[in-house]
Amino acid sequence: MSIFIDRSNKVLVQGATGKEGSYWTKHMQDMGTNVVFGVTPGKEGQRVEGIPIYHTIRRGLQDHDADTAMLFVPPAFTKDAIFEALDAGIRKIVTIADGIPLHELLQIRSAARSCGAMVVGGNTSGVISPGKAMMGVLPYWIERVYKPGRIGVMTRSGSLTNEVTAEVVKAGYGVSTLMGVGGDSVPLTRFAEILPLYQADPETDAVVIIGELGGTMEEEVAEAMESGAFTKPLVAFIGGRTAPRGKRMGHAGAIVTGSKGTVEAKVDALTIAGGLVARKPSMVGPMLHELMT
């Protein structure tokens, strides 16, 4: 089972006619994703990679069913595009946009929560269940990373995902579903909100989280473990352990303020909750072994 998307999902693509949109739409299809239509205002009647384009989601839904939306939309227009999808009844959405204004991230997350939708992103590479379906810009062709298997992976970082997941695969495992929640300081869906899906997934035996300094998402995972809401084996790798305090290293999320969000706090919380935390990516595979045998 895939926890977010499989071949039964009917995916519409917002911004399908752009360079990035059309390129990755083809890859999504190639991996098996069921893309039903695309949306670009003003371009109705065109086709991209065999799929029809509509001015609006509303017009696309007159001809097709869809339950999932993939956005290749610039950050400044992302809020409007997500609201369009939510208004149209779409409840699974992925946006890769890097640079969504902070206040709009809050508004999007608030709107999604109030209608029970899951919006994944922004600033993410996307979501993939290798061999089944993919939404985003994930290089499923890199075999030593995107190998089908039974480990769930949640990540805040694109570049680190390949690094750490390669270690999972090297240890003899594969990936059930990889969820990139993105590197923004306000991820639209948080780690702890995805955990129940992994918990319920019979095809996920354990979860690897790829975190970093800043924010409280890793601490929330620890809380879910403490409360018994998540009981499967969990290994975490958290980058930024030696990062100098107050320096912003890349991701908007990766800034430490006060005592919150330090790697130490995250490691302590996860360890107390029964998880294993790797200091180096290469420790992730062995730690999975340790928990699962």
Partner: protein, 374 residues
């Protein structure tokens, strides 16, 4: 982007938050031209971004013009300060703390208030959290009467004080929204003997993703600790300078940060953090130019594991950079991802060894820096 106090206070003024009368001066001459308009004592404040200016001797109450000019000259000439703010001293009866920031999990704005201002709020939050009044606000619904009542009554304010406070709070929230703030803070918020409020200091951090709709703010040398950091920022490449000798040239924030950790674990030390992932992945030449500006660097370590950032494109960029700069220090590469076989060949053609394990590459760079291998 973090604004200087004078910029924050100008934003406050625009939104109706009372601030003391002030003048910005960029030279001793400007100070002496303006100082006559101030009654003494007045306050002189260095416009720098670091916190704890008081303890660092960067803020001072001056008693007369002579003191003022002398202190201003010290700041400009000895402390390397580029701008100072001359400001009326406020005669205050109390100091409060008031800020608006965001709560990512709740997806709301968060107002923080405390009846004891002028202190290090993070320390207070750690030692006496019950003194801080918190209020979450949904951005779409906005600030409402009950939010203000929760805060004002929580601070023990009532009557005219509460009314005046609510005006400041309302204006601060409007400023938070208008300026796309990550954080907007008044600390201290002075309460005067006449039950009015005046912002003693001002902090405003604008969300970087919103800068395109917040025109008029430019990054300056003062935003950075080093010249190269400033130049890198102008070039749009994340770059931080440190005291070590290994120059990181990596793609992706998470991976770069992890390499930073791995260097430290291996006993090495970082000369600079440079991240040329995302849209910058084709800019290996610019990236290497910045790395080579750091004279302490003994080795350049390139680690990438690219998705859109194709390995072959990065390797070709590296080849261009090597051809252009002919770096005298060694280069260690660990460039993987899409089209990596092609990348490995390009790297071999450069006479380098294409490593494919990050930790191996890190160890090699540390060994080179330590002089154990070359």
């Amino acid at each position: 982007m973090k604004l200087f106090e004078y910029q924050a206070k100008e934003a406050f003024r625009q939104c109706g938050i009372p601030v003391p009368q002030s003048v910005l001066a960029c030279s001793p001459g400007e100070v002496s031209g303006a100082i006559g308009d101030f009654s003494m004592p007045c306050v002189i404040k260095a416009q720098v971004l670091q916190g704890g200016r008081g303890k660092a001797g960067l803020v001072r109450v001056v008693r007369n013009e002579k003191d003022a000019l002398e202190y201003a000259r010290t700041l400009f000439e000895e402390r390397g300060v580029r701008r100072i703010l001359l400001e009326d001293a406020v005669d205050f009866a109390g100091e409060l703390y008031l800020a608006v920031t965001v709560d990512p999990a709740r997806a709301k704005a968060t107002i923080l208030a405390c009846a004891e201002g002028g202190v290090d709020i993070e320390e207070l939050a750690a030692t006496a959290p019950e003194k801080i009044v918190t209020q979450h606000v949904d951005l779409d619904r906005g600030l409402s009467g009950h939010h203000m009542r929760n805060i004002a009554f929580g601070l023990g304010l009532n009557g005219e004080k509460a009314k005046a406070f609510n005006k400041v709070l309302s204006a601060l929230y409007q400023a938070f929204r208008k300026f796309d703030a990550e954080l907007i803070e008044i600390n201290p918020l002075f309460l005067t003997g006449e039950d009015t409020f005046v912002a003693g200091d001002g902090k405003l951090v604008i969300d970087d993703n919103s800068m395109s709709r917040q025109p008029g703010y430019e990054i300056t040398r003062d935003h950075y600790d080093h010249d190269v950091e400033y130049e890198a920022a102008l070039a749009g490449i994340p770059y931080l300078q440190f005291d070590g000798d290994i120059s990181l040239m990596c793609a992706g924030a998470g991976l770069t940060t992890t390499v930073f950790d791995l260097i430290n674990y291996a006993g090495g030390s970082v000369a600079n953090y440079l991240e040329f992932g995302g849209p910058n992945y084709t800019r290996a030449v610019d990236a290497m130019e910045l790395c080579l500006r750091n004279e302490k660097a003994k080795v350049i370590l390139i680690v990438t594991f690219g998705t859109v950032a194709r390995a072959d494109v990065i390797a070709r960029g590296l080849a261009d950079a090597v051809a252009r700069f002919r770096p005298s220090i060694p280069i260690v590469t660990c460039i993987r991802g899409t089209n990596e076989e092609e990348a490995f060949q390009i790297i071999r053609d450069l006479g380098l060894t294409p490593l494919s394990e990050t930790e191996e590459a890190v160890q090699r760079a540390v060994d080179i820096a330590a002089g154990r291998v070359s």
